[in-house]
Amino acid sequence: MTTASVTQNFQGSRSLPKWLAPTLLAVAILASFSINSALASSNPEATQLNLFAVALVAVITYSIGFYLASRIIEGQRKSADRLVTILVTGAFALAVVPLISLAWTVVERGAARFDIDFFTFSMRNVVGAGGGAYHAIIGTLEITGLATLISVPIGIMTAIYLVEYGRGALARAVTFFVDVMTGIPSIVAGLFAYAAFVVIFGPGVRMGVGGAIALSVLMIPVVIRATEEMLKIVPNELREASYALGVPKWLTVTKVVLPTALAGIATGVMIAIARIIGETAPLLIIAGFTASTNFNPFDERMMTLPVFVYTSYANQGSDAQTYIDRAWTGALVLMLIVMILNIIARLVSKYFSPKG
């Protein structure tokens, strides 16, 4: 084969020069600045240069410029690809900014009261500065724990029903209403739990376990959905292997299917806990408010962290800043609890996940 007969079938078209991206960015920022300054000076009502507008116009100019350059040099298909890359990366960046700001706000403002007292003191007999969220942390752990105890068995059994047994109208109804249940507003769940407890214990009742029930209404559908997905991806081969060994169905489900899906289920339960641990409205209604520690969820009011955060903010005393600081630290602790639970779930996943 001689080189003379070499055809050029596969060469890519010219690609964009390396210097293009930074240059274009600089030009876009400059252009945006001048356009906005011009706009600002022509408009008497615009008092200052709007950074939002500058950034917006700069990003749009940059994207369009880059797209056009690519389109001219590299052709339509490649430029579409590049445009999408810019858009997708941009969407990611845009979405991450507020989320980082949020996390940063909580950490920054929560640092003020992030001290030993916050974890060892309740608010009993505390006026103004000092005090802590011990009672609220206990309450949140107990109520969330109870809600988990209620929701996980029901949720997992329902998911098992849907994946392993469910057919026909009942299964379809359950699937549909689980979807509906995901949409129950949290305040409605709180009102419901309250009404149910009034029927049993009389009016004005406040109990930690009521909060757990309200949260369960919110948590169960999340557990079901997550577990269902996990059970579905357990390969049928494993079920068949177990049946072929003469293992009845219920043992197959409990001893083969569930352990195989355990890692995923743990993560799903974790997501469900995260979904409810920060709920405020239902707990305000049914678990109530107290400054003291209460270990018994079946008697009297029980404080929880979200309620702590909310009431600290909403009912500030005359020394407002100490209340606000406590609120943010409460939020920070809530986030940390979720994070620790997440790490635990990851460890569980790691430990139980199918090895190989």
Binding site: N125, G131, G132, Y134, E300, Q316, A320
Partner: protein, 337 residues
């Protein structure tokens, strides 16, 4: 238990009672409960600042044994049965928390304004919309007010603060403020809604050209309005607020244990600040449970004691109730069974 929850005691009182109601006196209850519990470590008192209406409702239903309320019992409410009280008996009530409501604003370079009732009503009713409106400048000749639109911030949640504030507007500027005494802000008046006292304060702080009304203790560094009473302008203060009770009369046709006041909003006496919030404590004259009665008696006595009122004053910037009112209240408390 928490590190702060263990103390030795000489007090013989023990048990738990719960109350709920007005969030306005939340910080006062917090301070009272703290001091009372320090003196009586085996007692736990809960106060759920869930709102006056919720508090009265919970008390009626028997869910709590005492309540705090920003407005006194309505006649039709008194006609109901009270589940925590002995059958047929009615609740007592008396004021324990008198708090000035400040009209706060955020306007660069201005920290005090003089306004009369009609102007305040005009602003909150959405009729006066600019800071350099004649109605405002004429009362504040020394100030250079900008051409800036006014954002009037009100409570978006139902509240006693709104009720007392609009009651003042109704009584003093009926021609402009036609909505009457309300809890829910009328849509047609516009303005900006914010949740809770802290929401209003934060909204006023965050904006420029904003004005709102809030519990005076939360006014912070914001500018406040001096209200025209008689011929002079009065800034809010505890003393100016407490005077208004003296100028007011009891609601007619109530039992002797029901000290409900009709506040004299339209007073012209100088040095009286008429925009106040009066919150009542209420409970049973005869409890079903004697232990509860003992605790309520002790706690209520503490609240109206000189020390209790001083505690409230420092916690919430309120005006202490007068000695004569304390005497009347103590008599009611002593009669609780």
């Amino acid at each position: 238990g928490a590190a702060n929850e263990e103390t030795a005691t000489e007090s013989t009182l023990s048990g738990t009672i719960s109350g709920s109601g007005a969030s306005s006196m939340g910080s006062g209850q917090e301070a009272w409960i703290a001091e009372f519990q320090i003196a009586n470590p085996n007692v736990t008192i809960n106060y759920d600042p869930s709102g006056s209406g919720a508090g009265r409702e919970a008390f009626t239903a028997g869910g709590v044994v005492f309540a705090g309320t920003d407005s006194y019992w309505k006649d039709e409410e008194l006609a109901l049965e009270f589940a925590a009280c002995a059958p047929g008996t009615k609740p007592w009530e008396f004021p324990v928390w008198i708090s000035p409501i400040a009209v706060i604003f955020n306007l660069e370079g201005v920290d005090s304004l003089n306004l009369d009732a009609a102007t305040v009503a005009g602003i909150f009713a959405g009729e006066i919309t600019m800071w350099n409106d004649d109605a405002i400048t004429s009362q504040n000749p020394d100030l250079d007010l900008p051409e800036l639109s006014i954002t009037a911030v009100h409570r978006s949640d139902d509240s006693g603060t709104t009720k007392n504030f609009t009651n003042y507007l109704e009584k003093t500027a009926e021609a402009i403020w036609t909505a009457g005494t309300i809890e829910t802000w009328p849509t047609e008046y516009g303005g900006e809604g914010a949740k809770g006292t802290s929401g209003v304060v934060d909204a006023v702080t965050a904006g420029n050209g904003t004005i709102g009304y809030a519990d005076a203790s939360k006014a912070g560094d914001l500018g406040t309005v001096a209200i025209k009473v008689g011929d002079g302008y009065v800034s809010f203060s505890a003393e100016a607020a407490s005077k208004v009770i003296e100028a007011s009369s009891l609601v007619e046709g109530r039992e002797s244990y029901d000290l409900a006041y009709k506040i004299a909003r339209d007073t012209t006496e100088s040095g009286v600040y008429p925009i106040v919030l009066v919150s009542y404590l209420t409970g049973c004259n005869e409890y079903l449970d004697a232990e509860v009665a003992t605790l309520v008696k002790a706690y209520a006595s503490y609240i109206i004691s000189e020390q209790g009122q001083a505690t409230a004053a420092s916690a919430g910037g309120t005006a202490p109730i007068s000695a004569s009112l304390r005497e009347k209240a103590q008599a009611i408390i002593d009669a609780i069974k």
